[in-house]
């Protein structure tokens, strides 16, 4: 999904008749048809199929994949039926836990990558320094590294036998679900936690790391051209007018990069929620660590294709919403440019 959105943005300026090819109208028609057919076969059809399969047992079947009741108490029913209901309920529970895991992990990764991406784009766009080209290629690295390899890197670093294995397996971190507010009385840190988790690999923390690694180019990459084109003068003007560093960022830098940032966040979110390879390696194949894509795979493997597609439809829906937002963003941007608000992005 993400690749198609990238592709459409790059050939936006293809309208207008080209005199060199304009005479051969059939060329244009054939090319257009080929493109439409290609997109139809490889994008629209599979996407439609996802929803068709998800709803193959009707709306109730769709809902059933997420919310299935256990067998009612005190009611007599055949053991087979009972067992089926129990299984369905536990499957649905696991599906819900996978959704929660994805939301938690994905959001964390996106937050980190936004901070990192803005900082990186800033550093690369505004300053000249030695090794800048190297830094840019390093930012691009996750694009060229297979996600599975990325996952393996973390296992090899933090796994039991890994380079930092000793430290990592005993690394303690608070269970995010047990964090509570304890206030400032007597503490500098206002949060407390009841439960601690241990280790990095094969825990949600590992999944977060893997996801961050795989998705970190998205925000940085979508910001860089904008930040670079922006230059430093507006910010220096703000500083010379007495604005603090934060005010300058808030009132001058951010408004200028907001559309690019939004787009980057959307791409990053889609990828973070949909990441399979790296997460598959670092999650250790335990049910508790399943994210949506891992869960889809497991449901599929256990021949529950309707449930698999139902869950997959969530990701597909996210992609569609992203597309929609991108459309709105493009439209808004065009409107701002027309209204003379400056060509931002």
């Amino acid at each position: 999904m993400t690749t198609t959105t990238l592709a459409t943005s790059s050939n936006r300026r293809a309208d207008g008749e080209n005199p060199a090819t304009g005479s051969a109208r059939w060329v244009r028609i054939v090319l257009t048809l080929a493109t439409v057919a290609f997109i139809g076969i490889f994008v629209v059809l599979p996407l439609a199929n996802v929803f068709a399969q998800a709803f193959s047992h009707g709306v109730s079947g769709y809902v059933h994949a997420f919310f299935a009741d256990g067998p009612p108490r005190g009611v007599h029913m055949p053991v087979r039926e009972r067992l089926k209901m129990i299984t369905a309920a536990s499957q649905a529970r696991q599906t819900r836990s996978a959704i929660a895991m994805t939301l938690l992990v994905g959001t964390t990764a996106v937050v980190f990558n936004v901070v990192f991406g803005v900082a990186a784009a800033w550093a690369v766009g505004k300053f000249r320094f030695r090794g800048k080209t190297l830094l840019i290629s390093l930012i691009d690295l996750p694009f060229s590294v297979s996600p599975v390899v990325a996952g393996l890197i973390f296992v090899l670093l933090f796994g039991r036998e890994g380079v930092f294995g000793n430290w990592a397996t005993h690394f303690k971190w608070p269970d995010p679900f047990s964090i509570y507010w304890r206030g400032f009385n007597g503490h500098w840190w206002p949060f407390g936690d009841d439960q601690q988790l241990e280790g990095i690999v094969f825990t949600p923390l590992g999944i977060v790391l893997g996801t961050i690694f795989v998705t970190f180019p998205f925000v940085a990459r979508s910001l860089m051209p904008t930040v670079e084109a922006q230059g430093v003068e507006e910010e220096q003007a703000a500083l010379s007018l007495g604005a603090s560093g934060w005010q300058t960022f808030r009132r001058v830098t951010l408004p200028n990069i907001r559309w690019a940032l939004l787009y980057g966040i959307m791409l990053c979110t889609c990828r973070a929620f949909g990441e399979f390879g790296a997460v598959s390696v670092v999650s250790g194949n335990t049910d508790a660590n399943d994210t949506i894509p891992l869960r889809v795979e497991k449901l599929w493997q256990s021949y529950d294709s309707q449930a698999a597609f139902a869950l997959a439809s969530l990701l597909a829906g996210l992609a569609l919403i992203t597309l929609l937002i991108k459309g709105v963003v493009d439209w808004r941007r065009a409107a701002t440019v027309r209204a003379g608000g400056g060509g931002v992005l």
Binding site: E233, A237, L241, A243, V252, G340
Partner: protein
Amino acid sequence: MSVEVRNLTKSYGNFTAVKDVSLVVNTGQLVALVGPSGSGKTTLLRSIAGLEQPDPGAGTILLNGKDVAAEPVGRRKIGFVFQHYALFKHMTVGENVAFGLRVRPWRSRPSRQEIRKIVGELLDLVQLRGMERRYPSQLSGGQRQRIALARALATKPAVLLLDEPFGALDAKVRRELRQWLRQLHHDVGVTTIFVTHDQEEALEVADRVAVMNKGVIEQIGTPTEVYDHPATPFVQTFLGTVNLFRGRIAEDLQKSGETSNGRDPTSPGKATAFVRPHDVEISRLANGHPGLVGEVISTSMTGPTTRVYLQLSDSRELVEAELTRNRYHELALKIGDTVYVSWRKAKVFADDYSI
């Protein structure tokens, strides 16, 4: 507020953009910084503003006699107008002008009404009232420039630094804005340093002119001083068109007497006489004192004066002369005429001086 720069040096890598520059600007003065492209004007201006740090230990900047090395840009009470305006594209004109007031800590921030009033006054000052709600992209170049100025003035800076304020504008608008800047400076009375590479602009507007070349200030003085008594051949050639007469130092060369760079003009040696076009005299007759012989190549009318281009018959060099209309008609020059060339006033520099 007075501005003083002491022995400032600024390098980028191993390239020195500004070399050991010293400059004093008194309170309320309007000083022009002129020089060819790349001579370090912007660098000097940015160093004063605090947008560039001088090389470690190489230079002090004093505002009102106080060393401001530790003061960040925002605290120097400086209004900086950038070469390319640097207006905030996503803000309206009103928001742009109000920016410096709105970012103040709330204790010293004026109220909304006050801000609106100040913005209105400033827009009056720059003659752009009623444009509050436009975006910078909806303004002409000259209007943007004036908004940039209004924005800088909003915080009531004690020093105004303008980097080529009229750089991107056409000649007519430039001339208008030049007069307008002069008037504005007169009204507001703020110490102002402005950069330009247009010598005419500098001579016309400024109280004093500093001529920069290759990272050093070659001369500072009033427009009359730098124009009539240039300290170096560079200043002489940079400020206005000038004709070069090369020769040995002999009687004909030092006729007008004024020489420079400490060399006795009567001592033998090669030298060059610099003569402004309006100091060139053309006559039909060899009237007593020795003159050079030249041929009229072309003539062109430029308003009240006429320019005559001549080629000297011995050195084949081109000479530009500026004659009044009357004199031109008196002479009745035609292309191809042979005439005698001499000068009323020249500045002679011995040739060890490289330009």
